[in-house]
């Protein structure tokens, strides 16, 4: 009922978290069930930690831990990127030895999934699995509770046997020997068939898994030979399940191609062929697969003959697959061409509607490329065409082949040109338009080969001159013109030159089948690892690896934040900030500044707000920072720097634009362009980062991640980024950001990539860009009456919840009041009118949203003094830290406004 993407499921995250951490095991278990059933990404990321804790903490019983293990497995399968599987490997592997079988089973399932993605990190599982199996199977170390119809923990046994199939055989000889003992024991104790169905099933489940493992370890081993005997008993067993599974396992054997297996399978060939006529379609399918797998040059004739014989009575569901497989086998193993042609024609006759275009294209291709084959093929096809039941596909093949090679048999009895023509033309009316068009082309070729039947052919063309179908009409008219030219058929001869041989190419049929196998994950799934590993996992892993590498590289200089790691542009930005924060002390200009403040205060209209304005503390105090914490900063000092930078599209200019804008460029150079699109709603925001490749080479090993203070901002990757950008294309990744507390203004986007073709030139690029994930982005505007505003303003009162600054703009001159209002609005605050009637000030209000800090009301007053070209900014909020940060951000924005 409750889908994972629904709003409601987001609301219960906190509840679940409480249950997980609570004392009651039952509640924890129910929460785990809920997470396993309905967890979406958000729930997964927020609760992953708690689930992990439940799994490894010793304080919980197996009752909780086994559920935690499976819950984790489920989360890992859905969102493989959020789980630090490698770091957790030792802890998880350790738990494989858990005494409790339920927990061991859960952990084994988890390890099986993890091992497919991180085989190195989980290699330790091999020894553990072998030891556990040894304990259960040979040492009989288990409790009666876990005996299932006389078989000890079949689920755990099978899981461990399966787990071992994802690894190469154990390298340690002793472990290998133990494993061999276990397998030998299982196989030798499965010979007799128990009466009880459940007992039998459980026993066989283990047996088949053990056989698969044997085959995986070494298909030529003695153990496999032993199992062959068992399997051949199974395929004649009465019980259908056994037959089905035995056939499937034999497929696995055949797929390995080991000599001994194929020999033994051949002994059973008759039985397998008989299985093709089994009552059950599941068994028939397996038999078909097996026959296909075990076919080779020696038995191809028998097998294909059997398949052909079976084809007319086969189910519709598997006919198409059968046709394809027969076509491939005949092509692959044909020793005589005549046989090949016979089979394919038979195939078309029997199951014409299942013969796809690919198959008959391939036939024509092969006939064209093999000269020896042509004469025989033409003769046979002509005979086939004469049969009243011939299929349209036969007509198609006939049309192609006769048109090209009809002259080869023209001298045989019954194969005169006119006979060939009539054979085809009698089928003409019953064919589809497509085939008819093909036949017209055949006729024009005939005209070239056999001038004696020109009259009949021209009659046909004339007949089709005004046929309704455009394609037919066009061909008829063109060919007629061609035929009636009076240049002695010179053009006709040139047009109808014999077709050149096709270039050798891979059989389209095999490609098609391979694709099918990839889709249905047929027998080739035994190749290890490919199973659950989806491309997503690989992608996410690649990104993470690259990111780790990049972070490692940047961190080498020992700077805590990898910002300063040689990024020229960014450094200058920081320098600039620093410069503006520490203006040379004691300069005369500063004295002026202070005076200006005084003056501006005097200039203040005596409105309702005037009493709130603080007297500046002793002017003699350190001029840079006053007691209120509001620095008196002259941004005009930073002006030269700003100018120098703003010449190009440098990152800091782009950044300062993005402080107020939602979308824009983040970085641009000759090769790479990084853009940003954002959308904020209360405390949640979505950030899409676009990467455009402007160079003429591919950008490779691209990795990008947002680095932000995890205590303040939670960043979740929603859509990962491919690691390669082809030239001239743009790709993007999407993040979700959630504001938890007061945003650190320093969020960074670290980008690492290489530009070039990877061989001759390969320029590594490392960028660290400032991302505007600012406090102001999480502010939503509010409107309130002037009276209310005034009341609240007074309520908050002065410091520490007030933050004030007086500063001079970077451009040297203050801007119009309407522009100031625009800046305030763009920072997410609502403009409150009629609070004070001065035309020189702007008043705004908004609410800052943070999920952990809660909502914080913000009020802002910005005044300017045109005479001294100064601003005074006063921020009052219900939280002192917010006041400071908000003030600093507005100040920077206003000061650097150009």
């Amino acid at each position: 009922m409750l889908g994972e993407n629904e709003e409601l499921s987001r609301l219960i995250i906190n509840c679940l978290s409480r249950d997980l951490q609570g004392n009651s095991e039952i509640f924890a278990c129910l929460a785990l069930h809920a997470i396993a059933n309905i967890s979406g990404r958000e729930m997964a990321t927020s609760l992953l930690n708690e689930v992990q804790q439940l799994l490894v903490s010793g304080s919980h019983t197996s009752f909780v831990r086994k559920k935690a293990a499976l819950c984790l497995l489920r989360l890992f399968r859905k969102f493989p990127e959020i789980f630090e599987a490698i770091d957790w490997a030792p802890k998880i592997l350790y738990m494989m030895d858990d005494r409790d079988f339920g927990t061991a089973l859960g952990v084994a399932s988890l390890v099986t999934a993890l091992a497919q993605v991180y085989p190195e990190a989980y290699y330790g599982a091999v020894t553990k699995a072998v030891n556990r199996l040894h304990k259960i199977v040979i040492e009989k170390d288990f409790t009666s509770e876990y005996v299932y119809y006389k078989i000890a923990v079949p689920w755990l046994q099978v899981k461990l046997l399966r787990l071992l199939q994802y690894f190469p055989g154990p390298a340690d000889l002793q472990v290998f020997r133990r494993l061999n003992d276990v397998l030998a024991y299982i196989i030798s104790h499965s010979a007799e068939v128990p009466k009880n169905v459940q007992h039998n099933n459980a026993q066989n489940a283990i047996l088949f898994e053990a056989i698969n493992l044997c085959i995986h370890l070494d298909p030529a081993s003695e153990l496999v030979d032993q199992t062959l005997g068992l399997l051949s008993n199974f395929i004649i067993a009465k019980e259908t399940n056994s037959r089905y599974l035995a056939l499937e396992t034999m497929c696995h054997l055949a797929a390995t191609g080991a000599r001994n297996c194929l020999d033994s399978l051949r002994v059973n060939q008759d039985t397998i062929v008989a299985s093709l006529k089994d009552k059950d379609i599941s068994v028939r399918r397996r038999a078909l697969d097996l026959l296909y797998s075990m076919c080779d040059q020696n038995n191809v004739r028998v097998i294909v003959a059997e398949l052909l014989q079976y084809l007319p009575i086969a189910d519709f569901a598997i006919r198409e697959e059968m046709v394809l497989k027969i076509a491939i086998l005949t092509e692959k193993f044909a020793m005589e061409y005549s046989w090949y042609v016979d089979v394919v024609l038979q195939l078309i006759t029997v199951a014409g509607e299942f013969v796809s275009d690919d198959i008959w294209f391939r036939v024509v291709q092969i006939i064209t490329n093999n000269e020896v084959l042509q004469e025989y093929a033409v003769a046979t096809i002509l005979t086939a065409l004469r049969s009243p039941t011939c299929h349209e596909t036969t007509v198609k093949v006939g049309g192609c082949v006769l048109g090209e090679y009809g002259h080869l048999i023209a001298n045989m009895p019954g194969c005169a040109p006119i006979d060939q023509f009539t054979a085809l033309h009698t089928k003409f009316p019953i064919c589809s338009v497509q085939t008819r068009a093909l036949l017209l082309t055949t006729y024009v070729k005939f005209m070239n080969l056999f001038p004696e039947i020109k009259g009949e052919i021209i009659a046909v063309f004339k007949q089709h001159q005004s046929v309704l179908d455009v394609e037919l009409q066009q061909r008829a008219n063109e060919y007629l013109r061609l035929a009636t030219r009076d240049d002695g058929d010179e053009l006709l001869q040139t047009v109808c030159e014999e077709m050149p041989a096709y270039p050798e190419r891979e059989s389209a049929l095999l490609l098609k089948l391979n694709q099918k196998i990839a889709d249905t994950e047929d027998k080739r799934t035994w190749i290890i690892g490919g199973k659950d590993a989806n491309t997503e996992v690989a992608k996410a892993k690649a990104i993470r690896d690259a990111a780790i590498a990049a972070a490692g590289g940047a961190g080498t200089n020992g700077v805590p934040r990898p910002v300063a790691a040689g990024k020229g542009l960014l450094k200058t930005f920081e320098d600039k900030l620093q410069e503006s924060n520490n203006p040379p002390a004691g300069s005369t200009e500063e004295a002026d500044l202070l005076k200006a403040i005084e003056l501006s205060k005097l200039d203040m209209p005596d409105g309702g707000l005037s009493e709130t304005i603080q007297k500046p503390t002793t002017p003699a105090a350190a001029p840079t920072v006053d007691a209120l914490g509001a620095g008196v900063i002259d941004y005009s000092l930073a002006k030269p720097v700003v100018k120098a930078l703003s010449g190009g599209m440098d990152d800091s200019t782009l950044y300062s634009r993005l402080v107020t804008a939602a979308n824009g460029l983040l970085h641009r150079d000759a090769n790479l362009e990084i853009g940003l699109k954002t959308e904020y709603r209360e405390h949640i925001g979505r950030i899409a980062i676009f990467f455009g490749n402007r160079s003429s080479h591919a950008i490779t090993s691209l990795a990008a991640e947002i680095q932000a203070d995890p205590k303040q901002v939670r960043v979740t990757l929603l859509q990962p980024l491919p690691s390669i950008i082809p030239p001239g294309t743009q790709l993007h990744q999407i993040y979700k950001v959630e504001c938890l507390g007061v945003c650190d203004p320093l969020s960074l986007l670290n980008v690492a990539c290489a530009i070039g073709d990877g061989i001759s030139l390969n320029v590594p690029v490392n960028l660290s860009l400032r991302l505007p994930i600012l406090l102001t982005k999480f502010v939503t505007p509010i409107q309130l009456p002037a009276n209310d505003f005034f009341q609240r303003w007074k309520q908050i009162g002065g410091p520490p919840r007030e933050s004030q600054a007086v500063f001079r703009p970077a451009s040297g001159t203050v801007v119009a009041t309407s522009d100031l209002a625009k800046i305030i609005t763009s920072l997410g605050l609502g403009i409150i009118k009629y609070v004070d009637d001065s035309p020189l000030s702007v008043v705004g209000a908004g609410i800052f949203n943070a999920s952990e800090l809660g909502k914080v009301g913000c009020m802002v007053r910005l005044e300017k003094n045109e005479q001294y070209e100064m601003y005074r900014l006063t921020v009052r909020t219900t939280n002192e830290i917010v006041s400071d940060v908000l003030r600093a951000q507005i100040e920077e924005c206003v000061a650097l406004h150009i």
Binding site: G3, E4, S24, I26, C29, L30, L32, H33, A36, N37, F63, K66, K67, L70, C71, L73, R74, R77, K78, F101, G102, L105, G106, S109, T112, E145, Y146, Y148, V153, P154, W155, L156, V158, R162, Q198, N201, A202, N204, A205, F208, E209, T240, N241, R243, Y244, L245, K279, D280, I281, S282, V283, R285, D519, T520, E521, D522, T525, W526, K531, D532
Partner: protein
């Protein structure tokens, strides 16, 4: 390798229970799968093998009285063992409801789901011991009852 879905279908083709361990299917796909699978299963004769192939999945089913228990699994999953998971589920149902019948499942479907949760998480077997599963179910029921009692009081 895991169970992707579980279906309980009556012989008349009525769906009694569906449980999805995969979330990437849309409601439409699910409905189609339920329809296709239940039809094919119902049309099969007894004594035929308990495994069949549906699209890219294997379907393992077994009939108990008038109910078909159907599990859809990944193609490389161990079929016989899946069959035994079904059996274990039926055994636990049987022990819990004391001689389970179709009506028990119809009227106490929430318990049937809870039992399945107790056996399977995310399509993987979590507890093969019947006793331990029943025990945890009992504990849950007791807690539920005591909570209800405390609410009334």
């Amino acid at each position: 390798m895991a169970i992707r879905f579980m279906l309980l279908v009556s012989r008349q083709g009525k769906i009694r229970l569906t449980k999805w361990f995969t979330s990437d299917w849309t409601a439409k796909e699910k409905a189609k799968a339920v329809k296709d699978v239940s039809q094919t299963v119902l049309s099969r004769r007894t004594k035929m093998c308990n495994v069949l192939e549906y699209k890219d999945y294997k379907v393992v089913y077994r009939r108990y009285a008038s109910l078909f228990f159907i599990a859809g699994t990944d193609p490389d999953d161990n079929e016989l063992l899946t069959l035994e998971i079904i059996h274990r589920y039926v055994e636990v149902l049987d022990k819990w409801f004391l001689n389970v019948c179709e009506l028990d499942i119809i009227f106490n479907f929430q318990q049937a789901y809870a039992i399945m949760d107790e056996l399977l998480i995310g399509g993987e077997m979590q507890e093969s011991s019947k006793r331990s599963a029943i025990n945890s179910l009992k504990r849950m029921e007791e807690t539920e009852k005591s909570e209800q009692a405390s609410l009334i009081l």
